[in-house]
């Protein structure tokens, strides 16, 4: 049952300030997440990428400003109703000891279950679909901690898919994966976006991967938005110099035609 999800939930940050009990990490930030697209948040270390994602996912309460989900302040919404619209994959999550792949994925159905409700047919179908989409149907009986890094990450994606939220937020989904698994992971997300019309928002370290997979880029510097828009329009040598303090030459990728940044040597 590939659902028709257009146009998807609207997520927006308005004059957002966020901190971890000290100086603000995100300052006066206003951004809109385009529905049905893949958005990549990029920036230097400590530029506020993960903080922004955490605030968007209501894991961090803003000190000022607000995040709006379909027009309502996300912190005021019942957490279950947010969970039905917004899935999350945090950075390197840890599975409980000995948990099996299928059991992990089933736990993603939590927001759809009522206190006394039974495991329903819909629940079962969602889990099957998530396992199939991530190619884990064969591995469902294996323990998560016995899987390879790439398989484990896919198991977590499958869990987030079973949640059946039209929008997914991911914090550096490719960390600790080798280059082949990174591409596999990003291809999977692109496919989910294309075939299921799911909105994807992710923090990415690799600028070129961001340009290649995202249709919308948010570049942060010092907790503020430096630029936002289509990669082909906003990614310029000048922007990269401002965001990362690095001089690059931007060429067109010979494979995809998206912008490709080639750094010059650093002059000390």
């Amino acid at each position: 049952m590939p659902p028709d999800r257009a146009p998807g939930p609207k997520l927006r940050a308005e004059q957002l300030f966020a901190d971890y009990g000290g100086a603000p990490v995100v300052k006066d930030l206003t951004a809109e997440i385009p529905a049905g697209e893949i958005t990549a948040i990029v920036g230097a270390n400590a530029s506020g990428k993960s903080t922004l994602l955490r605030a968007l996912a209501r894991l961090l309460r803003p000190s000022k400003g607000a995040v709006y989900l379909d027009g309502a302040d996300i912190c005021g919404l019942p957490t279950r109703s947010v969970a039905a619209r917004l899935g999350l994959l945090s950075q390197s999550p840890r599975a409980p000891d000995g948990v099996l792949v299928e059991d992990l994925v089933r736990r993603g159905r939590y927001p759809h279950q009522r206190l006394f409700g039974q495991w329903s047919k819909t629940d079962g179908q969602a889990v099957e679909r998530a396992l199939n989409l991530t190619g884990l149907a064969e591995l469902r009986g294996r323990a998560v901690d016995e899987l390879s890094g790439g398989q484990r990450q896919r198991a977590w994606i499958a869990m987030a898919l079973a949640q059946d939220a039209p929008m997914m937020l991911l914090d550096e989904p490719t960390t600790f994966l080798d280059i082949a698994h990174q591409v596999e992971m990003l291809d999977l997300l692109a496919r989910l976006n294309r075939t299921e019309n799911r909105t994807v928002v992710m923090v990415l370290h690799d600028l070129n991967q961001a340009c290649r997979y995202a249709s919308h880029i948010i570049a942060l510097a010092g907790g503020r938005i430096e630029a936002a828009g289509r990669p082909s329009e906003v990614v310029t040598a000048e922007l990269i110099e401002r965001v990362f303090g690095l001089r690059v030459s931007v060429i067109s990728c010979p494979v995809t035609g998206t912008p490709l940044c080639i750094p010059y040597r650093h002059n000390y």
Binding site: R54, A57, R58, L59, T79, R80, S81, V82, A83, A84, L86, G87, L88, L89, S90, P93, R94, A95, P96, D97, G98, V99, L100, D103, L104, R107, G108, Y110, P111, Q113, L115, F116, D145, M159, A160, Q163, L169
Partner: protein, 326 residues
Amino acid sequence: MTRTAGLCTASAAGILALAVVGLIVGDFPVPAREAIATAVWDRGSEFDFVINSLRFPRVVVAVLAGICLAVSGALFQALIDNPLVSPDIIGIDTGAAAFAVAVLAVGLDTRWLPYAAFAGAVGTAGLIFVLSWRRGFSGGRLVLVGIGVNALLTAVITYLLVRFPIERVSAAARWQAGTLSSSSWGDARTLAIGLAVLVPAAFLLIRRLRVMQLGDDMATALGVGLEPSRLAVITVGCGLAAAAVGVVGPLGFVALLVPHVARALAGALSGGVLLLTALLGAVMLLSADLVAQRLFAPTVLPAGVVTAAMGGPYLLFVLRRFNRAA
């Protein structure tokens, strides 16, 4: 799933078998047929007193207290994501013991014991809550605060043990080891009431706990309100421990050990695994009490000494599992 169901059936059968053995054996053996008859329908039997006033309530208390302790341990271990956590480690039992020892040491009537112990357990749990609350709960902080509270209460008990005459102190020491030897139908009723409320609550919390085990971020993302859920789990876990400790004393290691065994047999936490945990708790306490009664008969050990003795192999088991995980 079928594996869990099979294990549960086997455990239930084990409970029945052990219960029958518990009715039969003792300083005054009763033939099996008469024992069952007396317990179930034959009120006029010559064994009525031995069976219905001594052994039957004791068996029932062992089953109920075992369930309470094991389920409580499973809740705490899932909440704090550490296989070494249990209510006795973080001071709940010591709180009960401090109050109970105070009752014994100052020479109050022993009928106040269960109430004092229950009050002590609940009070200690409250104290640990309050002290570990700091912009929300954290499992690690709860454990460490609990260990501190435990030490403080241990000092109180030590003080009482040093201050008062040896006869009273020895009664207190006996109670402190955890024993089922004076269990009555009243005790069974107290436990049954606690169980009827708290065990269903524990099962309702399982779904939440399964999600909370994925980490705070993932749990929030899946729509679990963390603080209320933690408070609920801790309340139910402490309530179960308090009910059991009030009746049988601070009986160690059932809460720590049983959830582990259940997990090793049936896998990660689920409703079925929790049911297995509850049943295995009853099995463990029933068998520990039988061993305690018969091992050095006619000298009767407190059941807590036997469960503690089982703690040694358990530690080796944990060590082995950890090493394999590494």
